[in-house]
Symmetry: C2
Subunit: 423 residues, 2 copies
């Protein structure tokens, strides 16, 4: 694979969730988009207007195309395993949207198939790819603050009341905050903590019968080295943790309308309107739903015209305080705040690359340089294991022991990304 | 006891920790101080100058005095059981400073002795007596926000670097943050959660060899009804949670010098000076240590001349977010912030009474009205059990099941206190 020809040619399976990835792929100097597969003609039209490329209606046919080296799979969760297997069987490298699967057997199947076939599998995009998260782990590994002992992370949002398709509200299909948001939070926490979670104890809740998937969880993770992480995710649109975190949400955007209940109210109005919830979701994704009345945080990636990348804040996945024996760390809009014997200081992190850019860079490095991406298939499987443990512990009210954990790798290697430019 | 004569006459055992209690006792219309016992003549002189009363050098002799109905025991922790037993044996009601004991057997001994002798035993003062904490529980019991499901509470302070006597830095003598601060946090969390903790899973840390007691813990509590609480207490003087909580600390005072490491630096200077750490502790307690260079939060109660009670903020024991199925609650300087379908609103709570005033009021109600104080001996024992479980889980890395828990009682009764005036 070291001699794989440049550029790395991507096929996109399922464009609705691929806007950010497409932008990052085309922004990368040695990556390009050569094909797209989607069942919606409208989606295809919109996508190819921006990114001219070959068009397929079937994922399998695109996977067979000789001018496709790698496939980004952003189709609905229930198709993840099927579509990823198709790509792998055709010898394509795969970036698979989170959650990779809804059970460990499927995840294992994918990981082993990719290894057998000699292709790279990466699970993304999660907020764990964001530069501040890499930087936190880099500081921990440097040892300057002593050993990591405690991670506290809160994310209180309006997730359950954003526009949702039915699968997103069905836990058996990978819906609810444990699958959808736990992928972010467990990736972040595992990366900061070094990866090896030993046990998980958690509470989960389904509190709105009209939105019948988990809308909240609280989890206490213990790592193999005894460090712990206390994690909360609540998507019920009451208190918003951005209120305590510079007012910034995912994607580095200001959280608008942190007024409790406003997302719920906007959804009610949308459901009563002509297009219903589906149209509302699309509008929010494309940014049209981002009027002051309608949305809290946009799920959509920020287009370059909205915010030049170098000017916006870093992405905040809630409020996280990282405690080492000799200092604490949390995010600031421009980077990190370090609290140690010398006082409180800010470490700036260039804002040129966002998490999706980092993901594409690392994936490209893997294909071209044969260097495993930090968030490879086994990493993704270990994150999924932590998510499933949250669900299991919520049911059993006991601790769940994890057995598929892998360490965070390539921390120092990835730090070069923090210089802010493509390598 | 219903015909106990007014006023309720208190003897004070150990004045160093009794400044706030003495103020609250004398402020109460039907309580008075008639005696004091302390081994330090300087302490006695200072105390009796402010509160003229009979003087004893031995606690036992004071307990035998016929003009003493109740004893406040603020002597060092290692004397708590001995002194409380003396008072009980002499038929006196007892308010015992936290932690009531360092093991459950001793606590059980006290509780049973008080019950046998027919006297009231209350454990205080903890931050669980503060009016906002009562108000939160009152809202929960009203049902207006639906069932309580999750409590998140962080308190990052400089506790381990405030001036300390040796016992405070020795866990076997009831030192360290689990005993000293866990009494506050577990009381708060148990009160808000209704009292009945089922299991505790925790991490504890001793990170500074020069301060060889627990300086940090993180605990995940599950209540009998499935609600959970995630609790962090770190006293290592890096990140201060008041930074996210209106800059207000215990006693409702502004936290000064939230600059990380400044408490550690001030302590180093104090230890190198003539009076050493002991003098520094005394200076801080009496308020003289509260210069901008020296202290973060004063351990001392606020004298009326510093802040008229009605004007200062409510006490903040860190940052707490309470989640019910239909709304969240957190503290504001003037009361509570409620986040629900109607938006975010503030509920003001009169600031006339502080937590010590509430404690004295409830204790007086118990003696005069034969109404058990909410924080009675069995409540205190249950809080101690939760603290000991944090220590045990930190050692075993497993969950600890609790068996001595009792429910929060008298919530509606105590709400009348929130009107802000003595009854």
């Amino acid at each position: 694979m070291a001699n794989e020809p440049h550029p790395l040619r991507f096929g996109i399976a399922g464009v609705a969730a691929a806007a950010g990835e497409a932008r990052s792929i085309t922004a990368h100097p040695s990556c390009t988009i050569t094909a797209v597969a989607d069942r919606s003609q409208a989606n295809i039209d919109a996508f190819t207007a921006q990114y001219p490329c070959d068009i397929y209606t079937e994922v399998e046919r695109m996977c067979a195309a000789p001018n496709v080296d790698a496939v980004f799979i952003g189709t609905p969760t229930q198709f993840h395993v099927e579509h990823a297997m198709l790509a792998i069987e055709h010898g394509k490298h795969v970036i698979l949207a989170k959650p990779m699967a809804t059970n460990l057997d499927d995840a294992q199947l994918l990981v082993e198939a990719a290894e057998r076939r000699g292709v790279w599998l990466s699970i993304g995009h999660t907020q764990g790819f964001e530069p501040p998260i890499f930087k936190i782990r880099e500081i921990i590994e440097s040892g300057e603050l002593g050993p990591l002992r405690l991670i506290n992370t809160w994310n209180y949002t309006d997730w359950i009341y954003r526009g949702r398709v039915p699968e997103e509200l069905d836990s058996s299909q990978g819906g609810g905050v444990v699958f959808r948001q736990g992928a972010h939070q467990m990736d972040i926490v595992r990366w900061i903590g070094g990866g090896l979670v030993r046990t998980v104890r958690a509470m989960t809740g389904v509190w709105d019968p009209e939105r019948p998937a988990e809308g909240v969880y609280a989890a206490f993770l213990e790592f193999a080295d005894g460090a712990v992480a206390s994690c909360t995710l609540s998507g019920y649109d009451y208190f918003h943790s951005a209120e305590l975190g510079f007012g910034i949400g995912e994607g580095g955007q200001r959280v608008r309308n942190a007024e409790p209940g406003s997302a719920r109210a906007a959804l009610r109005r949308a459901r009563a309107s002509r297009g219903g919830e589906a149209a509302y979701k699309v509008a929010r994704r494309s940014g049209h739903g981002r009027d002051p009345v309608v949305s809290h945080e946009t799920a959509a990636p920020v287009g370059p015209s909205d915010h030049p990348r170098g000017e916006r804040s870093h992405s905040f996945y809630g409020l996280t305080v990282v405690t080492c024996e000799r200092g604490d760390i949390r995010q600031s809009p421009n980077g990190l705040l370090i609290y140690d014997d010398g006082g409180r200081r800010e470490v700036e992190i260039p804002r040129t690359l966002d998490g999706r850019d980092v993901m594409i860079q690392q994936f490209s490095d893997a294909v071209v340089g044969d260097r495993p991406p930090p968030h490879d298939g086994r990493w993704g499987l270990a994150t999924l294991e932590a998510q499933l443990a949250i669900l299991a512990s919520g049911r059993s009210r006991g601790a769940i022991e994890l057995v598929h954990q892998v360490p965070a790798r390539g921390v120092q290697g990835s730090s070069s990304l923090l210089s802010g430019a493509h390598q």
